[in-house]
Symmetry: C2
Subunit: 227 residues, 2 copies
């Protein structure tokens, strides 16, 4: 499903050239649950952004479902994202001017679902994340953990084939954290491919494979379970 | 030093009235290290914002250094903040248009320090947080954990009397997290009063007192150490 070969990502500022990813190769099969760990600044979010077609590699090839996506134009990339990928951003990226309900409904707007069907899905996922009582609030009227749960709700409301989650429990207490991990595990058992960045060793162990990054390179890859 | 009596904070939106804090009383002495824990949405950030004079209570009294601050005007509140308080916000609140160096220098601008003295303090704190190689980057050119470390550097560069830290290690790997907790402990041993919100039981144990909030109330207060 996902096949990265010798991917390099270089950020250039006036003073500094950073190899955020440095000849990284990685394969992820349909239905796998892969955890990514590593020190702050080692390239985890950069890797997720490339897998999610939000950012493009500087060198190397990226094949998604057998198609080389490096050559894709903006429109093609947007279509692949909409049809396949749910993303929980590390900084949430909620739209400040829309209430919680509308933020979560966004991924459904491009589909052929009726308003009634959309409403059912939105309310269902908001109650799963224990945040339905905040559906009319604006993001800045929420606590940090509540914003994170809204971001997770938006990412999974449309049952994506692939869920990319960047530290999904970083702002949550252990109870809410466990709830979120249970939701991710259930989705994975239903067939969703999951790639999760985390600093929590406990959460990483929910995955079937853990990879460790350091300075843009993959230093270990542990297979945890026989699926 | 800090004396909150029956403090209530109510947020009102069109549909919902939330008691973010509900008759909460709390005393914090000079030089103490208090940890605050509790589920997402229970009022931790609201409590820090009130202690830091960023937000005002709806009811109840707040005495800071023996003075009742509820009646303070904006200018008086700003002076108390500048002279006494360093704040690590949960969402960092870095200024996007300023490079890292300038963000960290901000609290020093209001002081009588020369540019040379300011430079020494800024570079010193950036190297302590292992982020000096990013001094010319803009906040959006940093990883999540790097932004958090810049936010911590800015909060401590001026050696505040009180440090309010809202989940200071939430976006950090365990190595960087330990470094930050060591810096906070050193500051506390030098006399800085610290109030830290955290979801990590391990980090909470660095404090001399842990309080647990639930639905805006303090449900337990554990004294950990004989100072
Ligand atoms: N501006 C606002 N308007 C309305 N409600 C608000 C506002 N800010 C916060 N709240 C509500 O007040 C409650 C307390 O929020 P607070 O940010 O203090 O929680 P917290 O304990 O810091 O949670 P977290 O661990 O998720 O950061 C939440 O239920 C939140 O929805
Ligand atoms: N727009 C940018 N311009 C320049 N450098 C950047 C940019 N974005 C990221 N970087 C650099 O690329 C490196 C990798 O960043 P990335 O966000 O992938 O780290 P991360 O592993 O997710 O870290 P964290 O755990 O702190 O979130 C970092 O050193 C960062 O400073
Ligand atoms: Mg990151
Ligand atoms: Mg908070």
């Amino acid at each position: 499903m996902i096949d990265l070969k010798e991917v390099v990502k270089i950020y250039q500022t006036d003073e500094v050239e950073t190899f955020a990813l440095n000849k990284l190769s990685l394969k992820i099969d349909q239905g796998e649950f892969t955890s990514i760990m590593g020190p702050s600044g080692c390239g985890k979010s950069t890797l997720l952004n490339i897998i999610g077609l939000i950012d493009m590699p500087t060198e190397g090839t990226y094949q998604f479902d057998g198609k080389i996506v490096n050559q894709f134009g903006e429109k093609q990339k947007a279509d692949v994202r909409k049809e396949n990928i749910g993303f929980v951003f590390q900084n949430f990226n909620l739209l400040d001017e829309l209430p919680v309900y509308d933020n979560v409904e966004l991924p459904l707007i491009y589909t052929s679902l009726s308003a009634k069907e959309r409403k059912e899905k939105v309310l269902n996922v908001l109650s799963k994340l224990d945040i339905i009582h905040r559906k009319k609030h604006l993001p800045k009227q929420l606590s940090g953990g509540q914003q994170q749960r809204v971001a997770i709700a938006r990412a999974i409301v449309n049952h994506p084939k692939i869920l990319l989650a960047d530290e999904p429990t970083g702002n949550l207490d252990s109870e809410n954290g466990k709830e979120v991990m249970k939701i991710l595990t259930d989705l994975n058992e239903e067939g969703t491919t999951i790639v999760m960045v985390t600093h929590s060793a406990r959460d990483a162990n929910y995955g079937s494979k853990i990879i460790h990054l350091f300075d843009g390179k993959m230093i270990t890859e542990n297979i945890l379970k026989n699926l």
